[in-house]
Amino acid sequence: MTLALTIGVLVFGAVFLMLQRGLVRIILGFVMLGHAVNLMLMSAGGVFRRAQPLIGYNPADVVSDPLPQAFVLTAIVIAFSITVYMLTLAATGSDDDTEDLS
C-alpha cells in the first residue's frame, strides 16, 4: 500500500506540473511521472520479496524479481535521454513559456 500511495502522490505532482505554463515545469512533471511509472514496474514485480537479486547473497525465497528491475533500469535511461533533450528545447526559442500568444 505504501508503494501505491507513493505512486499516487508522485502522479499527482507530475500531472499538476505537466499542466502548468512553461516547458520547464512540464519537463519536471515528466521526470516525476517517470519515477511513478518506474515504481509501478517495481510494484508489478511484487513488493513482498525485497532482497537484492545477487546470487549467493540472500536466501532464494526472499529475492525480488529481477526482471522488472532490468525494465526499470532501461526505462530510467530512456527517460533521462528524453529529459535532457527536452531541457535543450526549453533553452531554445524565445522563452520556455508554452502558452499560445493571443
Binding site: G8, L17, F48, P66
Partner: protein, 961 residues
C-alpha cells in the same frame, strides 16, 4: 470477346493520344472520330444478334477474387443502345472538335475525351456492380477535368459538378456494397435476377432509393439539376458529348438497368415520376428564361432528362420502349444543337440571343440543321422527336397507382412540352430568323465543322418516318428492363389517340406561349427562384468549411498543456470506468507494506507538495530531485540496488543539466490564474488516485513471475554472472539494452542537431540575476581554485570507480550504464569547476564517442552470430597466471559500448548546453560536424553549382536546375 476488344480499342486510343496529338495536333480528332465511328459500325453490326436474337455477348476476367470482383462485361439491348450512342455521337463530336479548336496541340482534351468514351463504354457494358461503379466514377472524374480544362473560370463549376455527382456516386457505392453483401455476388445480371427484391421490400426500397439518388445527381434531376447549366463553362464539344449524349445518360442507363429489380416498388415509381416531372417542367421553364443559347440547351437537357426519368419510373413495357427510343432521339437532337451553338459562337462570336438574329441568310446550312434539331426537340412531326415524345405521353398514362396518377403525369409532361416547344422555337427563330442583331460580318462555317451536327440533325429527320426500324430496339429495351416482350409498334402515324391529342396540345399551347411571351423574350432573364443552385452550393460549402475551421480550432494550440490534458482525462476516465465496473482481483500476495516505507511516503509527499506549491524554478527543480532520491531509496528498499544507483546518478545529472538550462530562464515560473490552478489540481488528484488504485489493486497479487524465477535459477549457469539484473541487461535482454543505448546516443545527436538549427537562448544571468562585480568573490579564476583542486582529485577517482563499476557489473552492483554515468559525473565536475566557459569545454569529440559506443555495442552483438544469433554472448574462461580464472564474455564488450555512449551523451549535454549562447549553425562542433565538407550555415559553398540568387537555397550540390 468482342466487348473486350471494344474496350481495348478505346483503351488503346487513350494510350495513343499523346502520340496522335504530337503528330496531328487538333486534327487528331479525325483519327479518334474514325476509331469511334468504326466501333459504332461494329456495334451496329451486332444489332441483328443482340436486338433481334436477344443474344447477350459477355466476357469475364478476375480482378479482386478475394471479394469476388471481376472484370465482367455483358451487352444486352440497353447496353447496345448506349454503346452505339457513345461511339456514334462521340465520333461525330470528335470530328467537330477538329474545327472547333484553334490550331495547336490538344493533348488534354483528346486524352480526356477518349478516356471518357472508354469509361462510358465500360459503364454500360459492365456486368459487375463494382466494375460498374468504377466506370461510373471514372466518368465523373473525366467530366471534372474536361470542364476544368476551360480555364480558371471553370474551376469552381468543375468542382461543384464533381462534388454533386460524387455524392450520387457514394449512394451508388453504398447500394453496390449492400447488394453484394446481401446477394453474395458482384455479377450485375445475377443480382438483378435474385429473388431478394420481391422477398425483402425494405431492402429493395433502400437500394432503390440509393440507386435513384445516384441517377438523379448524374442526370441532373431537381434539385441537383443546377450542376448541368453550371458545367456549361466547359467547351462546346465537351458539352455536346457529356451533357447531351453521354454522361447525363449514365443516370438514365442506371435507372433502366435497375428497373427489373424495382419496377414494382411504389417508392421507385413515385420517386422517379415525381422528381422526373418536376425536373421536366422546371427545366423547361428555366430554358425559356435563358438568353444564352448554351444555357438554354443545358436547361433543355435537364427537362428532357426529367421526362426520361419519369417515364422509366412508370416501369411498364410501353414506358420503357418510350424511354429507349427517346434516349436515342434526345442524343441526336441535343448533340446537334450543342454543336450548332459552338458553330454560332464561333462564327458570330456570341451566343447571346439578344445579340443574335437573322443569321439564316448568311448561315443557311446551320439554320437548316438547327431547325431540324429544334423541331425534333419540340416534338413536331415528322421528326423522330415527335414519335418518341408521343410515346412518352403514352407511357406516362400507364403510371401505376390510383386512377388519377397516369393522366396527371401525362398532363405534367405536356406542360413541360409546351415550354419545350416555346424554347425550341426561340432557339431556332431567335438565332436565324427574327430581327437581325449584332455583327453582320458573319459567314457560314466550313463543312468539317458542320458535318457532325448535320449528321445528327438529319438522322432525326430520317428516323422519324423510318421509325419502325427502331421497333426491335424498343422491344429489346423493354424486354431487358421488364423481362417481357412487348410489341413496340412505333410509327409516325397510328391513328387518333389520346397521346396524339396530347402532342397536338403541346404544340398548340406552345405556339400560344410563344405569342404571349413574344417568342419567350418576355420571360427571358426572369428568375423562378430567389436563389440559384451554385449559390446554395457555395453557401453549404462555406458552411462546412467554417464548421471545419471551428473543429480545427478546438486543437489549434501550440501549448503542450492543451494537448496533454486530453490523454490524462481519457486515462482517468478509463480508470473510473474500470473502478466502476469492478474487477475481480486475487488477494495480495504477502505483505506489501513495511514500516520503513513510511518515511519514504512522507518524503515523496513533501517533495510533491513543495514542487506543486513553489513558484521558484530552482526550488521546483530541487523538489523534483527530492522525489527522485526518494524513488532511489524506494528502489533500495525493494532490493534493486543497480537500479537505485542508476537512479541516483541520473537524478544528479538531470539536476546538473537542468541547472544549465534554468540559468537562461527567469527565476520564477509564469503565473497562472487561481481557477486554472484549482482545475489542474483536481485533474491531477483524479490522476493520482487512479494511479494509486491501479497500482494497489492490479499489482502485488502474485508470487514471483516465471521468467523472474528462471533468471534467478539459471543466470549463473547460463551466463556466468551473479548479478542477475545485469545478466538480464547484457545477456538475456541485450536487445532492450541495445535499444536503450541507441536512444541515449541519439538524444546526444539530436541535441547537437537542434542547436545547430536553432541556437540557444542567451545565458540570462545578467538579465535575471544581479551579480555584484565589486567584491573579491567576483573573480572566477581565483574563486574556482578550490573546486578545481577538488575536481583534480575527484576526477581520477570517479573514472577509476566508473571502470570498476563497469567491469564488476556482471557479478556485483554496477554495469556499463552506471559506470558511464559516474564517469559522466566526473566530466561534469571538471566542467563545473572550470573558471570560464571556454576552458570548461571538454574537447573530446563526443559525437564520435557516441558513434563508437553504438558501433562497439552492435559489433559485440554481431559477434553473437558466431554462435548462431545476434547478441548471443560468447564466453571463455581465461586462466590467470597467478591461478584461478577470469570469466571473459562478449557482454563485457557490450558494456564498453554502453559506457562510451553514456559518456558521449553526458559530454554532449554539458558542452552544448554549457555554451554562453549559440547561434544556429554555431560551428562549435568543428570536426564533429557530420558532413564537414558541407557547412551547416548559409555560407555559400565553394565550387558548387549554387548561384547567389538561387531561389532554392536548399538544393544540394549537383542539384538539377
Amino acid at each position: 470477346m468482342v466487348l473486350l476488344i471494344l474496350l481495348l480499342v478505346l483503351a488503346a486510343a487513350v494510350i495513343g493520344t499523346p502520340l496522335a496529338d504530337r503528330a496531328l495536333g487538333r486534327h487528331a480528332g479525325w483519327l479518334f472520330a474514325g476509331v469511334l465511328l468504326a466501333l459504332a459500325g461494329v456495334v451496329l453490326a451486332l444489332a441483328p444478334s443482340v436486338l433481334a436474337d436477344g443474344h447477350t455477348p459477355g466476357f469475364t476476367l478476375p480482378w479482386m477474387p478475394q471479394i469476388g470482383v471481376g472484370l465482367s462485361l455483358r451487352m444486352d439491348g440497353v447496353g447496345w443502345l448506349f454503346t452505339l450512342l457513345i461511339t456514334g455521337v462521340g465520333g461525330l463530336i470528335m470530328a467537330y472538335s477538329t474545327r472547333y479548336f484553334p490550331p495547336g496541340r490538344r493533348l488534354g482534351f483528346y486524352l480526356l475525351m477518349t478516356l471518357f468514351a472508354f469509361a462510358m463504354t465500360g459503364l454500360v457494358l459492365a456486368d459487375d456492380v463494382v466494375l460498374l461503379y468504377v466506370f461510373w466514377e471514372l466518368t465523373t472524374l473525366t467530366s471534372f477535368y474536361l470542364i476544368g480544362l476551360s480555364g480558371p473560370g471553370a474551376s469552381r463549376p468543375a468542382i461543384r459538378t464533381f462534388l454533386i455527382t460524387a455524392l450520387g456516386g457514394l449512394a451508388l457505392l453504398t447500394a453496390v456494397v449492400l447488394m453484394v453483401l446481401r446477394v453474395g455476388t458482384t455479377r450485375l445480371s445475377e443480382i438483378l435476377a435474385d429473388p431478394v427484391w420481391s422477398q425483402d421490400p425494405a431492402f429493395a426500397t433502400t437500394i432503390a432509393l440509393l440507386v435513384a439518388a445516384a441517377a438523379f445527381t448524374k442526370s441532373a434531376q431537381f434539385p441537383f439539376h443546377y450542376w448541368l447549366p453550371d458545367a456549361m463553362a466547359a467547351s462546346t464539344p465537351v458539352s455536346a458529348y457529356l451533357h447531351a449524349a453521354a454522361m447525363v445518360k449514365a443516370g438514365i442507363y442506371l435507372l433502366m438497368r435497375f428497373t427489373p429489380a424495382f419496377s414494382d416498388l411504389a417508392v421507385w415509381n413515385a420517386a422517379l415520376i415525381t422528381v422526373g416531372l418536376i425536373t421536366a417542367v422546371v427545366g423547361a421553364v428555366f430554358a425559356l428564361q435563358q438568353h444564352d443559347l448554351k444555357l438554354l440547351a443545358a436547361y433543355s437537357t435537364v427537362s428532357q432528362l426529367g421526362l426520361l426519368v419519369a417515364v422509366i419510373g412508370v416501369g411498364k413495357e410501353a414506358a420503357l420502349i418510350a424511354a429507349t427510343v427517346h434516349t436515342l432521339a434526345h442524343a441526336l437532337f441535343k448533340s446537334a444543337l450543342f454543336m450548332v451553338v459552338g458553330v454560332i459562337d464561333h462564327q458570330a462570336e456570341t451566343r447571346d440571343l439578344r445579340e443574335l438574329g437573322g443569321l439564316a441568310r448568311r448561315m443557311p446550312v446551320s439554320a437548316g440543321v438547327t431547325a431540324l434539331a429544334a423541331l425534333s426537340m419540340a416534338g413536331v412531326p415528322p421528326l423522330l422527336g415527335f414519335v418518341t415524345k408521343e410515346n412518352i405521353f403514352k407511357g406516362l398514362l400507364e403510371a401505376p397507382g390510383p386512377m388519377w396518377v397516369g393522366p396527371s403525369a401525362a398532363t405534367a409532361a405536356v406542360l413541360a412540352s409546351v415550354f419545350t416547344f416555346a424554347y425550341s422555337f426561340r432557339f431556332a427563330y431567335g438565332t436565324f430568323w427574327g430581327t437581325p442583331r449584332g455583327s453582320t460580318d458573319v459567314h457560314e462555317a466550313g463543312p468539317g465543322f458542320l458535318a457532325g451536327p448535320a449528321v445528327a440533325g438529319v438522322a432525326g429527320l430520317v428516323l422519324g418516318p423510318a421509325v419502325p426500324v427502331l421497333n426491335r430496339l424498343g422491344e429489346r429495351g423493354a424486354a431487358d428492363t421488364t423481362g417481357t416482350y412487348y410489341p413496340a409498334g412505333l410509327s409516325l402515324w397510328h391513328g387518333f389517340s389520346v397521346d396524339l391529342f396530347m402532342s397536338l396540345a403541346a404544340i398548340g399551347f406552345g405556339a400560344l406561349l410563344i405569342r404571349w411571351t413574344a417568342s419567350g423574350e418576355r420571360m427571358a432573364g426572369r428568375t423562378l427562384f430567389p436563389v440559384n443552385g451554385p449559390t446554395v452550393f457555395e453557401f453549404l460549402h462555406e458552411g462546412l468549411v467554417g464548421l471545419g475551421r471551428r473543429v480545427g480550432d478546438l486543437t489549434r494550440s501550440d501549448s503542450p498543456t492543451r494537448h496533454l490534458v486530453m490523454p490524462v482525462l481519457v486515462l482517468t476516465a478509463m480508470a473510473g470506468v474500470a473502478a466502476g465496473a469492478g474487477i475481480e482481483v486475487p488477494d495480495q500476495y504477502g505483505g506489501t507494506t513495511h514500516p520503513l516505507d513510511w518515511p519514504l511516503v512522507v518524503l515523496a509527499t513533501v517533495a510533491v507538495v513543495g514542487a506543486v506549491m513553489t513558484g521558484s524554478r530552482m526550488a521546483c527543480l530541487v523538489m523534483v530531485g527530492v522525489a527522485g532520491f526518494t524513488t532511489a531509496l524506494w528502489l533500495f528498499l525493494l532490493g534493486a540496488y543497480d537500479v537505485a544507483l542508476t537512479q541516483l546518478v541520473v537524478e544528479i545529472l538531470t539536476v546538473v543539466v537542468a541547472a544549465l538550462v534554468l540559468r537562461r530562464l527567469p527565476r520564477r515560473f509564469h503565473r497562472a490564474p487561481r481557477s486554472r490552478t484549482v482545475l489542474t489540481a483536481l485533474i491531477a488528484a483524479a490522476a493520482g488516485v487512479s494511479a494509486a488504485l491501479g497500482t494497489y489493486f492490479l499489482t502485488g497479487r502474485r508470487d514471483i513471475s516465471g521468467p523472474g524465477q528462471y533468471f534467478l535459477d539459471h543466470s549463473e549457469e547460463d551466463t556466468g554472472g551473479t548479478n542477475v539484473v545485469n545478466t538480464i541487461l547484457v545477456d538475456y535482454r541485450a536487445l532492450d539494452t541495445l535499444g536503450e543505448l541507441i536512444v541515449l546516443g541519439v538524444s546526444g545527436l539530436i541535441i547537437i542537431a537542434v542547436l545547430n538549427s536553432s541556437g540557444l537562448l542567451p545565458s540570462h544571468g545578467s538579465r535575471w540575476v544581479v551579480v555584484s562585480r565589486r567584491s573579491a568573490a567576483y573573480d572566477a579564476d581565483d574563486n574556482t581554485l578550490i573546486m578545481r583542486a577538488i575536481s583534480h582529485v575527484l576526477l581520477p577517482l570517479l573514472v577509476v570507480w566508473s571502470v570498476y563499476l563497469t567491469v564488476r557489473g556482471h557479478t556485483d552492483v554496477g554495469g556499463g550504464f552506471v559506470g558511464g554515468l559516474v564517469a559522466g559525473a566526473g566530466f561534469a565536475l571538471v566542467y563545473l569547476a572550470a573558471p570560464s566557459a571556454s576552458v570548461a569545454r571538454i574537447k573530446l569529440a563526443y559525437p564520435k564517442i557516441i558513434g563508437a559506443g553504438i558501433l562497439v555495442a552492435i559489433s559485440s552483438g554481431a559477434l553473437g552470430y558466431v554462435d548462431g544469433s545476434f547478441v548471443k554472448p560468447l564466453h571463455t574462461g581465461v586462466s590467470l597466471p597467478w591461478g584461478g580464472s577470469f570469466h571473459l564474455t562478449t557482454a563485457l564488450i557490450f558494456e564498453a559500448g554502453v559506457y562510451l555512449a553514456v559518456v558521449g551523451v553526458v559530454l554532449t549535454a554539458l558542452n552544448q548546453l554549457g555554451l554562453e549562447e549559440s547561434r544556429p549553425g554555431d560551428s562549435t562542433l568543428g570536426l564533429m560536424a557530420p558532413t564537414p565538407d558541407q557547412p551547416p550555415t548559409n555560407a555559400p559553398e565553394e565550387g558548387s553549382g549554387d548561384h547567389p540568387e538561387d531561389p532554392l537555397g536548399t538544393v544540394p550540390n549537383g542539384g538539377t536546375r
